[in-house]
């Protein structure tokens, strides 16, 4: 029977990438010099599993590579090897290399053999450097050919049965080698009254007449050679005497490379690495060599730009080819779901089915008297569908740790390349969000983190001179607020440079020469389109980098991003995202003849206009005085290009919304109830539209636009450049 085991390959790769991720985070968490045996064990087991599967499925390179890593880790866990920074760094690089190898194996593509071989040699060198590999024992050569048979004396020890072995089976197996003559020795058998059935008393002598090697005979008894007395003697045709050959220990020659060699290789490769970094097709070799070198010798000024470029290319490569553990695992198309959640779904469906049959039954012979029952039934239907919906959404929710997990490595690598000391603090990593949202927020987060490391955080000397600690802190935080998720990236670096930003903004025409923007406005310029023209080609896929792209990506997810900064103290980027892209609680409003949806989470309150509370600043802008606040009024019908039902303000209603900390009043003709709506994208078949975040299909089948409040405000600002932006606490003068 032949079994096609290639069907298990996919599962193997998935679990191997998970194993790699576990190895990486385990390695990052190891304290140098104070090994936590449990932690090392976990890392070891992961390597071991990957190796085991590789062997079974025939991936030889993976087996060989992982074997050395496993040996190193084994030595560490048994205390034979110290946990040094060098060892951890090498293992981390090896994890990367292994990841790339696994991807190449899985996708049946070529991989960089040079890089692989270098990594392998480095591992071997490390292994040989501190410790000679154990001498492998060699089985004695058997004087097999001359024996025509074997005499086997097999005397099991009394406890043999306790090992689950059975002499009968062993004898049967021996008989498969050739014809046997078996004699049983029952000398040890006690009297019946003393007989213990679980003890083995018998022994056997077997004459096997077959020309088989001794090893074959011994193999039959391989499992029990500690639990039995075994003697195997050849039956020889007389007379030549056979001399057993002497044992020859195997020299551990391949492993024994001099430790000095790798470091001699590196400087040469570094020079090549620098040259290669200029060319668009930088080799992984150069990168891993220059990266290894950087680990070894520490960055110098002149190499920094090269390394930065190769780092970026490396992380781009990682992202692209999934070379790192995180890269490969994160882009998967499957979700692990708790069985409980699935059970919950089944329950919900069950209830839905019951409600449906009830409604069907009701519709037979329906009379007006049944109206109340119908209403109840429909209410129940609504409850059931809502529950089902929540259950399904929760399946797609995953903790943000999946996204945050790539950062310890990234921060470690990048900070060491930039010559900065950075501590990474991660809070709220259990905060859950939709899987798709999380996948798409990954790149913007990476960009913001790298930006903070690059521009925000200072080098140790500058920090010390400024009276700060040499090591800077980068904090990632996530929490739920207002029906959405907030992700904050903050650092205690130098903060944004207001002067420079303003100059650049003026230069690019984003800010007029006469304008005097506030600090907050200046900082917001970094997100303006066209602000960052840095031609940093870091992605082969051509995705541009720049804050405007970050904001656009976040906006496409229905979210917002703002930056706060304090010179000398640091900066904070706050991203707000909806928990899910799919469903929204909305307030239906009528503007003119059309129905629009305003997201409920943006609405503070709605009210009827009070005469006299409206004041005009200029003939374009109006302010509404609400209690002690002044709110700019946004005439939606003008913005949306619709004919209003009435231009008399008193006939209209105001919907007060809050956007990025500021309040505005939207002018609508009528409020039409609240409901949950399914968000459908306009981009699928059309394009994104300013002021609109999506569309939905109402109960009557008509399409209604969902307003993007932030976008509306922005449109407003563009249309009326002098719309005043009053702080929330503005009072009547």
């Amino acid at each position: 029977m032949s079994v096609d085991i290639s069907q298990f390959h996919q599962v193997y790769f998935e679990e191997s990438f998970e194993g790699l991720a576990a190895m990486e985070s385990g390695l990052l968490g190891l304290s140098i010099g104070e090994p936590d045996n449990e932690a090392i064990n976990t890392i070891f087991r992961a390597a071991h599993s990957i190796k085991g599967g590789a062997g079974t499925f025939g991936f030889k390179s993976v087996t060989d590579f992982t074997h050395i890593m496993e040996t190193l880790l084994d030595e560490m866990r048994s205390g034979q090897r110290m946990v040094t920074r060098e060892a951890v760094d090498l293992l981390l690089l090896s994890v990367d290399q292994l990841g790339r190898l696994l991807v190449a194996t899985r996708d049946k593509q070529a991989y960089d053999e040079d890089a692989f071989n270098t990594a392998l040699q480095n591992l071997q060198a490390m292994l040989a450097g501190a410790q000679n590999s154990p001498v492998a024992a060699q089985v004695a050569d058997t004087p097999a050919l001359s024996a025509t048979g074997w005499r086997v004396t097999f005397a099991p020890q009394p406890h043999l049965f306790m090992t689950g072995n059975d002499p009968a089976r062993l004898l049967r197996e021996l008989a498969t080698l050739g014809p046997c003559k078996v004699t049983c020795d029952s000398a040890k058998l006690p009297a019946f009254s003393d007989f213990e059935p679980e003890t083995c008393y018998l022994a056997w002598q077997i004459e096997l007449n077959a020309t088989v090697p001794e090893a074959a005979v011994r193999e039959v008894f391989e499992w029990v050679d500690n639990d039995a007395d075994l003697a195997v003697t050849p039956i020889l045709p007389p007379p030549p005497e056979v001399k057993p050959k002497a044992e020859e220990p195997v020299a551990a020659s391949e492993e024994d490379k001099p430790a000095a060699r790798p470091s001699r290789i590196r400087p040469a490769r570094l020079r090549r690495g620098e040259a290669d970094a200029e060319s668009p097709e930088a080799q992984a070799t150069a990168e891993s060599a220059s990266a290894a070198n950087a680990e070894q010798a520490g960055g110098t000024e002149e190499r920094r730009s090269t390394e930065r470029r190769s780092t970026e290319r490396r992380s781009a490569e990682r992202r692209e080819s999934g070379g790192g553990a995180a890269g490969a695992a994160a882009g998967g198309t499957s979700i692990r779901v708790d069985v409980e959640k699935v059970d919950g779904l089944i329950n919900s469906i069950g209830q839905l089915v019951i409600t449906q049959s009830m409604l069907m039954a009701l519709s037979d012979n329906f009379s007006v008297d049944d109206l109340e029952k119908l209403r109840e039934g429909l209410a129940q239907l609504e409850r059931n569908t809502r529950e089902l919906q929540e259950n399904i959404m929760s399946i797609r929710m995953m903790p943000i740790s999946f996204s945050f997990n790539r950062f310890p490595r990234l921060v470690r690598d990048l900070s060491s390349k930039l010559g900065k000391e950075v501590q990474l603090r991660v809070l709220g990593e259990n905060t859950e969000l939709d899987k798709t949202v999380m996948e798409k927020i990954g790149d913007p987060l990476v960009h913001l983190v790298r930006n903070a490391l690059d521009h925000g955080l200072e080098t140790p000397d500058i920090r010390l001179a400024a009276g700060k600690s040499a090591s800077g802190t980068l904090t990632l935080n996530a929490y739920h607020e207002g029906g959405g998720i907030v992700i904050e990236i903050s650092d205690d670096g130098a903060g944004l440079n207001r002067q420079k930003i303003l100059e650049k903004a003026r230069e690019k025409g984003i800010c007029g020469p006469a304008e005097n923007p506030s600090d907050a406005q200046v900082y917001d310029y970094i997100f303006a389109p066209g602000f960052s023209t840095a031609a940093v080609v870091s992605d082969v896929s051509g995705r541009g980098v720049g804050m405007d792209v970050v904001r656009r990506n976040i906006k496409d997810l229905g979210g917002t991003v703002v930056v706060h900064s304090q010179p000398g103290l640091g900066a904070l980027f706050r991203i707000r995202l909806p928990l899910t892209l799919a469903i929204l609680d909305g307030q239906l409003v009528r503007v003119g003849a059309s129905v629009y949806i305003v997201p409920l989470i943006a609405i503070i309150e709605s009210l009827q206009i009070e005469r006299g509370a409206v004041e005009s600043i200029s003939n374009q802008t109006e302010i509404y005085r609400l209690r002690e606040e002044y709110l700019p009024v946004v005439r939606l019908h003008e913005l949306l290009g619709i004919a209003p039902a009435s231009t008399r303000l008193e006939d209209c209603l105001l919907v007060v919304v809050e956007v990025e900390g500021r309040k505005f009043a939207l002018l609508v003709d009528e409020l039409l109830g609240q409901q949950q709506v399914v968000v459908k994208s306009l981009q699928t078949n059309f394009r994104s539209v300013a002021g609109v975040s999506g569309a939905t299909i109402l109960g009557n089948g008509a399409v209604a636009m969902i307003l993007d409040v932030g976008g509306i405000i922005r449109l407003c600002r563009e249309r009326a450049a002098d719309l005043p932006l009053l702080p929330p606490s503005a009072r009547v003068a």
């Binding site: 059309s594 913005l639 949306l640 290009g641 619709i642 459908k680 994208s681 306009l682 699928t684 078949n685 059309f686 394009r687 994104s688 539209v689 300013a690 002021g691 609109v692 569309a695 299909i697 089948g701 008509a702 399409v703 209604a704 636009m705 449109l715």
Partner: protein
């Protein structure tokens, strides 16, 4: 008018890619690759999209999908007319520059017929000097002594969907058309 799915009446000589659905617009006959036609619907009121050119009538609910509807008359720069009983919406599958598929509806005066026009019968569009856009015209063909202008739908829409192009810019570049 109820929605109909277009069936391609394949003659034994038909080759894929050579069948065209023709429609009338402003007394001219235009043709489009039948493989791109998803269905033909009667016209229905669309929900307007704010701040879009006049020829973008809005979006409709096509069995749960949000589909934009374009008035092809306005798009080509002709005057608008009242919609009548023969006004139809042709639902097309459009591929953009990145190969992504979109579904869009186009309002035309009426649908004509399905013709088999082998590649050999296609004449290249004439040059009228540089001012006229010809990138969405595949070519011209004579069918039953009528001239049919064959359109390349992918190119027709691609220029529409550029992000960042203001309605004014779009109107300027699209005002001319091959006759």
């Amino acid at each position: 008018m109820s929605a109909q799915m277009v069936t391609s009446g394949l003659g034994s000589n038909a080759v894929l890619g050579e069948q065209f659905l023709t429609f009338i617009l402003n007394d001219e006959e235009y043709g489009i690759d039948i493989l791109r036609v998803q269905e033909i619907k009667g016209w229905e009121q669309a929900t307007p999209i704010p701040n879009t050119p006049a020829y973008v009538l809005g979006v409709i609910n096509l069995r749960g999908a949000i589909m934009p509807v374009i008035d092809l008359r306005l798009r080509f720069g002709f005057d608008a007319v009242e919609y009548s009983a023969t006004t139809v919406v042709i639902v097309l599958r459009i591929k953009n520059l990145e190969g992504l598929e979109r579904t869009m509806g186009f309002v035309v005066d009426g649908v004509s017929d399905v013709y088999n026009i082998p590649a050999g019968q296609l004449q290249p569009p004439p040059e009228f000097g540089g001012s006229i856009r010809t990138d969405y015209v595949k070519g011209l063909a004579m069918v039953d002594e009528k001239m049919v202008i064959l359109l390349d739908v992918d190119h027709l829409v691609a220029s529409d969907m550029e992000l960042g192009e203001s309605p004014e810019e779009q109107a300027n570049t699209d005002s001319a058309l091959v006759e």
